[in-house]
């Protein structure tokens, strides 16, 4: 536990490494961080064009829905998949530097959030361009993001150590997120009936998406907020327990 607190205190260290991780992706490129933005923009445009051709221009702002949803889904996928990898990737550092172990986990979360921040720029631009109304409700996406980030920390603390011991966890997580991409409303808008069905209500990722995407598109669902907050806190608590119990073995598992 002391080590967890020390890891939090060392935020400057893991945040700096995360910034470096992101910068490193674009060394020796011309467009640099713009590529992240363009990848998202490309996918969003493609899906939107497809939707328009199949369904015509409807009243729901599908472009904004995609522009917010896709980067957000990328974030969730990174939070799950990169957590599994984080300690293994940091093997060289763990063996050589007396940093509190969770620093390597938090670095992974920070990197994912920073990458999301790039794509979120596209989301903002699209929201403004499509003239989505900006009200106080819109600002609720900020606490929504905080919930997702807390969820991310919980995932990192849980999956990081476990994936170091059980190497199946990474491919299993990737397979799971692929499935969730289809089952969670990311590139499709659920009908009101579907919103209340167990298929969505029992899907924690649906609620995570709603607490950020909802306010930005003008609606707030108290059920989603409750479920998302509880899930985030529960995941964090589980993560803390898993981390504390597995910490002594992590150096041997990686």
């Amino acid at each position: 536990m002391d080590e967890l607190i020390a890891s939090l205190k060392a935020w400057r260290t893991w945040f700096a490494i995360a910034m470096d991780d992101v910068a490193g992706k674009y060394r020796r490129t011309v467009l640099g961080p713009l590529w992240l933005v363009m990848i998202q923009a490309g996918f969003i445009s493609g899906l939107w064009l497809l939707h328009r051709n199949i369904y015509g221009a409807g009243e729901d702002n599908f472009l904004a829905y995609l522009a917010v949803g896709l980067p957000l889904w990328s974030l969730l996928t990174m939070l799950v998949a990169d957590s599994c990898d984080s300690l293994l990737k940091a093997r060289g550092l763990i063996d050589s530097y007396p940093l509190p172990m969770a620093v390597h986990l938090f670095r992974s979360v920070a990197t994912s959030v920073l990458i999301f921040a790039h794509s979120f720029v596209v989301s903002i631009i699209v929201l403004l361009a499509t003239r989505e109304p900006l009200t106080l409700t819109t600002l609720l996406f900020v606490p929504g993001l905080v919930i997702v980030i807390v969820f991310g920390f919980g995932l990192a603390l849980t999956l990081g150590p476990l994936a170091a011991r059980f190497r199946d966890l990474l491919p299993a997580a990737q397979a799971g997120m692929n499935l969730m991409f289809v089952l969670t409303p990311v590139f499709w808008i659920p009908t009101p009936e579907l919103r209340t069905s167990p298929l969505l209500q029992l899907n924690p990722f649906y609620h995570m998406m709603e607490v950020v995407r909802g306010p930005l598109l003008g609606h707030v669902d108290p059920v989603s907020w409750t479920v998302a907050s509880l899930t985030a806190v529960a995941t964090l608590v589980i993560g803390i327990v898993v981390f504390i119990r597995t910490r002594p073995q992590i150096t041997f598992w990686i």
């Binding site: 700096a16 007396p98 199946d168 041997f252």
Partner: protein
């Protein structure tokens, strides 16, 4: 007052070799089928350290000698807090710094300076301390303009100077050093020895693993001899070295 104590420390680590031992699905299948499917996770353990106790008070300089594979690196990593002992206790007072694997975390695409900044950060430095350490290390390397170039352009000797310089640019109360004065030209080696001396003089506590009697005598006042994870001799440097040398020759 800096200090480092290890009480009865035992470190056993699991040797997970079989790919089935790594798989959560295989383990689950084994459990659910009551052992009928799959061999499950029967993992062997290696005892890297057995019941090791060490007490280094403020001002103490302990040398650790032993053959390759005797557990020296494990002992140093345990003392640094990287490895948690399976039994026993570790008590440390003061900030811990270590020089264990030179060059860990080096990114060949980044410049020498950028790498040094990152490694300084990994050593726990920040702000002004970090800037000062990087400046100091940069001066030591004598690499001048090369510091702005990506490390992939360096020769191995230049890389070694870089790694050594930044690793020794930290100042901590408890220094844990693993055989870092390696090969190099005579000019560099003498500079390096002076630098390590400055590093050790600035520390409250030193634990240094080495194969060289000269280094041992120069930097340490007490020594322990580790063999197969156990302390087989401890005392002043000369006594312990004589015992070790007598057993294992030159």
């Amino acid at each position: 007052m800096a200090g480092l104590k290890l009480y009865g420390v035992t470190v056993s680590y699991p040797v997970v070799l079989n790919s089935r031992q790594r798989s959560a699905l295989a383990n689950a299948a084994n459990t659910l089928s009551f052992g009928r499917y799959g061999r499950g996770a029967n993992v062997d353990y290696v005892q890297a350290l057995r019941d090791v106790s060490v007490d280094i008070p403020q001002g103490g300089r302990l040398g650790v000698i032993g053959r390759n594979g005797s557990g020296k690196s494990t002992l140093l990593k345990t003392a640094a807090g990287i490895i948690r002992p399976s039994r026993g206790r570790r008590e440390v007072n003061g900030k811990v710094g270590c020089v264990l694997n030179l060059g860990a975390g080096l990114d060949p695409d980044k410049s020498g300076l950028e790498n040094m900044r990152m490694i300084a950060r990994l050593h726990g430095l920040d702000g002004e301390e970090l800037d000062a350490a990087v400046e100091d290390a940069a001066a030591f390397t004598e690499l001048e303009a090369f510091l702005e170039m990506p490390v992939r352009a360096y020769s191995s000797g230049m890389g070694a100077r870089l790694n050594f310089a930044i690793a020794t640019a930290q100042r901590s109360d408890v220094m844990i050093i693993d055989e870092v004065i390696g090969t190099g030209d005579a000019y560099f080696v003498s500079k390096a020895v002076d630098r390590v001396r400055a590093l050790c003089d600035g520390a409250g506590v030193l634990m240094l693993a080495t194969h060289s009697y000269a280094i041992l005598r120069d930097f340490c006042d007490r020594a322990i001899w580790l063999d197969a994870g156990r302390v087989v001799a401890e005392g002043n440097v000369d006594e312990v070295w004589e015992a070790y040398y007598a057993a294992h020759g030159g």
